[in-house]
């Protein structure tokens, strides 16, 4: 349960294999990443947003719109999480974790491309003027290869953080 006041600031990051901000053309920028770790969330290196908080005790809405491809068609699944100032603030590693729960889990034939949307409301209790570095993480289960922004195509992903005043 959370509540907040008016929107104060918005920060965004778009990364991928695109030649312009709208992704109307392809460019081999190398802003793609393949996750192979089993049951472990991994940082998306191009997703980091850094900023300074505007108000004390603000509330944040984190939104990720990810372009993910499961390169191995075994249906084990993948998931997304967020890291905030070096600490993962959602998502669980390991055999009872949730690295499989956002898409692609199921029978054979569930590989391919997916739109992974992850949202989280977070109230870190920071003072105004605090430095923040946040990024998206992706996890997977078993022998999948989760490819973010599959290379060779004009794929891109977005990460947006909204800062709201406290109630």
């Amino acid at each position: 349960m959370a509540s907040c006041g008016k929107l104060v600031k918005v920060y965004g990051k778009r990364w991928g294999n695109i030649s312009d901000a709208l992704g109307t053309g392809y460019s081999a920028l190398g802003e793609h990443q393949t996750i192979t770790a089993n049951q472990t969330y991994v940082d998306l290196s191009s997703s980091t947003i850094s900023f300074t908080t505007s108000v004390t005790n603000s509330v944040f809405l984190l939104q990720a719109d990810l372009n993910v491809y499961l390169a191995t068609d075994n249906g084990n699944g993948t998931g997304a999480a967020f890291k905030w100032n070096g600490t993962r603030i959602c998502g669980t590693d390991g055999g009872s974790g949730d690295t499989w729960q956002r898409m692609g889990h199921g029978s054979t034939g569930n590989g391919g491309a997916w739109n992974v949307v992850r949202k989280l409301v977070y109230s870190p209790g920071l003072a105004a003027g605090s430095s923040v570095s946040a990024n998206v993480m992706v996890g997977q289960w078993g022998s999948n290869n989760s490819v973010i922004n599959y290379p060779g195509y004009s794929n891109y992903s977005d990460f947006i953080i909204m800062e709201f005043e406290p109630t």
Binding site: K13, D65, Y153, S154
Partner: protein, 155 residues
């Protein structure tokens, strides 16, 4: 090169709920308009950004893939190319049988328009092949939504 954005408070929010709309993939690798999804606004700030959000669901009988893109003052935020486009990469690529799908998009648009300029936003669907992919599905009730939130320039 990644693109970074920052903005301030909300200036206006425009929302469109489309109770029934159907668009079929008619040309391979190509984005087509989704009828009824258009919204229009007049900018209220100089140097503002627009936060775009949408939700679209549909059905496809092949596993060649589908994507949803925003159309922004006539420019498609996507790539209709047969060699390196992105019309396949948000849903049902890799499926071995027909299946329903949903795509939720969220992105910031740095429009570069001056105060008082018109902006028109709508949704498009892209497919990698034309085989039976549809946003919505005829004879069944569905709805999509598209939301545009204009954000003041960052101070």
């Amino acid at each position: 090169m990644a693109y970074t954005y920052s903005a301030g408070s909300a200036l206006q929010v425009i929302h469109n709920n489309v109770s029934v709309a159907t668009a079929y993939g008619s040309t391979a690798y190509t984005y087509v308009d989704i009828p009824g999804t258009s919204i229009s606004l007049t900018t209220k700030g100089t140097g503002s950004l627009i936060h775009l959000q949408c939700y679209v669901n549909g059905w496809g009988s092949s596993g060649n893939g589908v994507n949803i893109a925003f159309k922004l003052n006539g420019v498609v935020a996507g790539n209709s190319s047969s060699s390196n486009g992105d019309t396949w990469c948000r849903a049902i690529n890799g499926a071995t049988a027909g299946r329903s799908w949903n795509v939720g998009r969220s992105m910031l648009w740095q429009h570069g328009l001056s105060l008082g300029s018109p902006a028109t936003i709508s949704l498009m669907m892209g497919t990698w092949s034309t085989a039976g992919v549809s946003a919505g599905w005829s004879s069944y009730q569905t709805y999509f939504h598209v939301t545009a939130t204009e954000l003041a320039a960052s101070s």
